[in-house]
Symmetry: D2
């Protein structure tokens, strides 16, 4: 097993489960790992159809002997290699996250897992406990907290620029499932609308969890209770494709959360607005390089990524000057850079530097699954205010 001293002279070695030919998010993970040169992808079980997986491995320069038939074989193959992977990235449908993560954690690997972390709350609890028990790092890819202006927003809230928070509005509308594309061969849509593969939440699990995490990430607020209304608009669909949630946060702030997969015209419209007693912030994922800030009675200011006067947490996640846009892959790469630093810091038993702090882990994954559970329960109880089990 790689010792800490060795680590300083090389990139981290990454394996991947899922993410083969035609997969979407696996490719994004690979872009993200390469951008900052923090990871080197050296092993994988890329496809449930093993031969396709091997062909894919070759196409991306992964050696044949480290292209595995499945994740079990991968754990076995890697665990005793001297150049074994440092961490595994799990890019499979939701229902497989738990067994895969469990197997790798138990073999001593660090884990980077897509969200939602698991499809049931029990699994989420178990995984989070396992992470603690094994003393391994579990990063969960709440992508949007990788954006530098989200860190800027978090810092501004934390240092009091907005005063006490009153209202938190977060929404995540998408168009792409506005018709029954899951019945027309779209594999991405198919598993997202299958409760066995996705869990209890449809839009609320797939994107509502992102919105919920982002609101909590920026404001530092914990939900006290919520009241939800789910809807399924596309005929034949088995999970919600639109979710409305009213939230009461500890300390008295109130929020709305809207997630939708049927919002025609919205490409990836995650938007967060935070209103405090002294000021407000607004951020939209589709133009992520700016943050709008208004002081009480003041003129709105457009704060641009890349400025010298931003918070260190934003600056360390920035590669280009103002006006040279950074996008989604760069945000994803910031997560990976953070995961790398968190992993290195654990190995070297030291505190992580700025980039490795404040990265989403299994604790966040657990809260996300608990949120889905509470939303579905509230909806089924018709207007009941419920408290998520983990906040």
């Amino acid at each position: 097993m790689s010792g800490a001293d060795d680590l300083a002279r090389r990139r981290l070695r990454l394996g991947m489960v899922g993410g083969g030919e035609g997969a979407y998010i696996g490719g994004i993970h690979r872009f993200a790992t390469r951008l900052d040169n923090a990871f080197e992808l050296v092993a994988g079980a890329f496809d449930v159809r093993a031969e396709r997986g091997h062909a894919f491995a070759e196409s991306i320069f992964v050696a044949r002997d480290r292209s595995y038939d499945d994740f079990t074989a991968m754990v076995e193959g890697e665990k005793n290699r001297p150049d074994r992977i440092d961490a595994v990235a799990i890019c499979t449908p939701n229902h497989t996250h738990f067994p895969i993560a469990k197997a790798f954690l138990e073999a001593g690997f660090d884990v980077i897992c897509e969200k939602p972390m698991t499809t049931t709350l029990d699994d989420a609890i178990a995984l989070h406990e396992l992470a603690k028990a094994t003393n391994r790092f579990v990063g969960v890819t709440y992508t949007y907290c990788g954006y530098p202006m989200i860190h800027q927003a978090q810092a501004m809230v934390a240092r009091g620029d907005l005063g006490a928070i009153r209202v938190v509005q977060v929404e995540y509308p998408l168009e792409w499932m506005a018709s029954a594309i899951e019945a027309q061969g779209n594999a991405q849509a198919a598993w997202r609308t299958d409760p066995k593969l996705s869990g209890r939440g449809g839009s609320v699990g797939d994107i509502g969890t992102h919105a919920y995490h982002l609101a909590g990430f920026v404001t530092g607020l914990k939900a006290q209770s919520l009241c939800a209304d789910l809807a399924t608009f596309v005929p034949g669909r088995l999970l919600d494709d639109n979710a409305h949630v009213m939230i009461r946060y500890e300390g008295g702030a109130r929020g709305l959360l809207w997630s939708s997969q049927v919002a025609i015209g919205c490409s990836n419209g995650l938007r967060l607005r935070v209103f405090g007693e002294k000021g407000s912030l607004s951020w939209w994922q589709e133009e992520p390089n700016t943050l709008s800030y208004t002081r009480l009675s003041g003129a709105p200011e457009i704060i641009k990524r890349g400025r010298e006067d931003l918070d260190p947490s934003a600056k360390v996640r920035t590669r280009t000057p103002p006006g040279h846009p950074e996008g989604y892959i760069a945000a994803f790469a910031n997560l990976y850079a953070g995961f790398a630093e968190a992993i290195r810091a654990r190995r070297e038993t030291r505190a992580p530097s700025e980039i490795g702090m404040n990265v989403p882990t299994s604790a966040d994954g657990l809260k996300g699954v608990a949120f889905v559970d509470a939303v579905v329960d509230s909806h089924e109880a018709k207007g009941c205010w419920l408290t998520p089990r983990f906040v």
Copy 2:
């Protein structure tokens, strides 16, 4: 009393109650009446301090003998004049709308009333019934349906451009009461935060009713039930200054409604987004001359006010070509132009022309008050789904 034939050769004669020196909305009413030359302001009881009212009347060229000490004197003074006013505009705080409107209706005058129409549902019912019983016109100034692009949106929904409506998002955030200005001498804020003068609703009554009306106006949908969460953030305030409402519409559409008086950075941020199975629309009051429309899988299109291919209901409410912005006063003037035509049509016992159709009346005023009632009841019942009594 003026006969119908006389009407064709003159502007309508208008009286006003309230709206004196320092009042805000009265001045807007006057701009609106003048813009299209439909009304001539000839009488008024402009101020509860009668002398101030008379001085104000003189300053705006209203003859001394038609500047009255109060609305009772005005009814008496006007009702037997051969050149009596055709209609009265009521621009006073909410709690006085009912008695004033009642007095003028009973004396045979048409009425134009600010919203919310009354402070209690009983009064709203009584006023609506009185309008029917006296066969008089009662217009209620839901200003925002005066915008031409709102009529365009309504027409597009009605003709099926969006298909069946699924989601309706409406919000009306304001900053202006983010601190306790009612305690610092701001008269506008003072009566809005006094339950005796405003009724049961704070933000939900003052602006939530606008948002609710606009959503119903554009979509044609009626609320089936709603579930609300009110909050009061400014210490000492007696009414809500932030309202979250989840709405289920007849036919299955779902909506969120947010009204806020503490949303720093938002000047007059009424925004409506409507998502159907075939397309979506988005409109923002602060840039009211455009409407964003997206077809399923299509590119967003920016539809501009003033185009030749707009619906007749939008074109008749337009004065300038595309790119020459029209604003809030023009929208208000469209309401007045509509009221004028509705009044003339009633007198002439004919159907109104396009501009006089589809104007907000006491039926809309009643629904607005019923909405406030249902919201407050739902909030007090903690998460209960309720049906407004009139929708």
Copy 3:
């Protein structure tokens, strides 16, 4: 003739030449005169087809005996009436501005004239001299300086918020004449493309003059020299429909000016950007209620019309609070309010109040015509830097 004392108790009486049925700008003038109640339209020669003009007069409540066959009859009819008009608004094609204005000035009337003031520089000089000789007011409707945020911009430049001005970018692109609509019965386009009716400038005369005036109005800079390139894109058109002008201002600032009548996608896209050594401003006519301001190294700020902290010159031209948009007609009405005050001040031999200061007059009209002349001369000289005769 009306004495000054009488003036205080009534609106000004206005006559209009042109602006009859189907005319565009005449209607805008009428909206503008009514909005603030400063003028009352009581006389007119609305149409060269006299009978049409009389019918139109009746439709807008102008008495038959003050609806004249032509402007000569109007001068004669009005000049000896005890209730004669105070001023005349000239809303006719460019080539008639001069004779009409001359006739009214010589009869002692104040004049409000559309731009360009005349079609030749000689006429412009003569008219400006006549205004001085007769001691009468000649207002020229450079509409866009009626916008409150333009006054705010002017004040900010004047008080040094931008430091010394370096670069002035102004553009005025329009789509509406992108095809040969003048050959398809569009009367507005027909006279604008006829050198006999419009003068030497096509786009540069019709809209370039607006852009030039606006740049000078806000910055206070005078052109030192210019170098121009005109083009005519629509086949058969006799005047330029696209103009590029490089400008050197006194003091060293540089500017570009672009006017175009063939810019598809641009409705009324007048835009001004001013860059100084300490800050910059940007304003766009299609969203005129905001002004973007950036300090050196600062974050862009969105300054909204209606704020309490704006310059008095902006505040006096504002009717509604922030977020309640005001548009083109309101800007035009600000000009008329200013003209009214300038006229009253002249009569009362006093200085005008804020609203009447800084209004465009024959001096500005003269500069505009001199600009057109210099642009066309420079173009014809192929790249020559020329100085306009009046700046």
Copy 4:
């Protein structure tokens, strides 16, 4: 030397000159090479201070024996290695581009060079001729043509969506040199303002060349003549920091070009607008994921990167779906992906695939230098219309 068959099984090997610690653009090149895994950086002469360069090489995992003291040593060291670099990236100040590129070309390497390609037109001619004589690839990093929506725009123009082009407006305003930062230790600004290091152009060379290239790239138009006005606003600066250029294109289109380094509020504001007889396009580098398109008399449409219906040239340069923004580094990576394919295609004596077509080469570099020459000549001749020697 690597044979073509070997190439298929590995990434291309890249060397870099310049781009060491503290350099800006070298880091961007490295991000770009990594994103798509097309190149592997294996050698370099990163710094004129050799020891700093070696330390930097180590920090980025470049082997010590391939970290060279200077570019001459690098040519010598690499040219006979069996694993010699395939290409060199030149990231040094302008005046060194020519000797470095010449040395590598003469040793048989392909070259990727920053712009402007050289500081004199003679050198540019010589380099372009040398590229042809050696049959080597010379890519020039006109970054902005790497954006997918720029390829979409080019395709739309080429297929006639806009009809014949009439007006081309391009501007590139920046704030960053609005004060004399070159005198305050800013190395980036220092060489850009030194004629010996930068050549004859200041803003026009540094960013005007980008704007000029972009306009030609999208429209396919060649400049017929131009007329320029340069200014230097910051005291003591030796080159222009603001340039205005009027352009006449072959075929009759007209254009303006504005470059500025003193435009406060503009971060990296490259904007291109193209107007044809049938439609128009608008694109802004700071929000590069959308392209605004308007048909004659149509509503503006917002075309989003990532859509299925885009041109293949845009789709092949896209990594993420609509709404997941891609930025500057991704555009740069598209250039590198194109260079890689162009280099492979040359080696394999085949035509490049889509990504390798239409990449900027020494021919474009030559045109850029010729543009700077013509602009400065025109300015010095005071308003003279000149034709660039290469267009």
